[in-house]
Symmetry: C2
Subunit: 140 residues, 2 copies
DNA sequence: AGAATTACTGAGAACAAGTCTCAATAAGGC
DNA sequence: GCCTTATTGAGACTTGTTCTCAGTAATTCT
């Protein structure tokens, strides 16, 4: 399943190292993010995890984001999406259908290459986000 | 001033051609967008244009977006930004400071080149959005 | 020009996403 | 087990965006 076999464990450890407790609700948020390979919104997580409060979902995401374990992606929808960050640095970007909102991940080596050559005076660059917009087969 | 001398006029014409009326409030939204070279939020426009209702601002933006005269940009902030689309196709992308939220535009020819080589089965690509994240000089 | 038609508008209600508050609960240390 | 303190869930609140509707103004008709 081309799974990250350990992002979940890795994150749990990083959370512990940051001095945070091993609570069950937070762990459930981590596990849900672990099994998703593309963006999920906070409200989707909240809806999927019965018994975990919305505030807890948002808090957990924020902590994971601060630790660099999760990244926020803006795909033009009303809500933000979140996806795990692989420790390897391996990542993908997104193609969005502007008609139906369908999202597909993609990877492109030449694109990454071009981005890594960009330098900006007065800025230290750390990450990047690329979104391609278009129309999917069904909508055309 | 490297201004678009005519985006405002061009847009007014396109609006008319689309069968919409030449109303003063919509024209004021167009003129404000015309004089800004980087992203503005709907609420900033609303705040700046006294006497123009919020609903009118959102409606005007939507119409301009539908006609391809304005593009939405998501910069990680709570509100979306909007910026004019030059008929020439000339455009820029954004660098965001993840600490203070400062946004700077940038252009990169090699990046555009790499993006235009991307093809995706089942998708017709029409536009793209690149956001670089990092930390600005003041925040480091 | 004046009347008729109908798009457009502003105020504010409604809604949606995300944040904050606070009393109750549960981890981890002793 | 007891104590300390991080964490939690419910729900109030805030912010951004959309919707509603009666009044206004741009166009068209005559």
């Amino acid at each position: 399943m081309s799974q990250s076999p350990s992002w979940s464990e890795y994150s749990a450890r990083r959370i512990a190292e940051a001095g945070l407790r091993r609570s069950i609700p937070r762990r459930r948020v981590i596990d849900l993010l672990a099994e998703r390979d593309c963006a999920v919104t906070a409200l989707e997580i909240d809806a999927e995890l019965d018994g975990v409060g919305r505030a807890t979902v948002y808090r957990a995401i924020e902590q994971l984001e601060d630790l660099g374990l999760v990244r926020k992606v803006d795909l033009g929808a009303s809500a933000h999406g979140y996806e795990k960050v692989e420790p390897s640095g391996h990542h993908h970007h997104h193609i969005v259908c502007d008609d139906c909102g369908k999202v597909e991940p993609f990877e492109d080596e030449a694109l990454e290459e071009a981005i890594h050559h960009i330098r900006r005076k007065g800025f230290s660059l750390e990450s990047h986000e690329v979104t391609l917009h278009g129309h999917c087969a069904e909508c055309r």
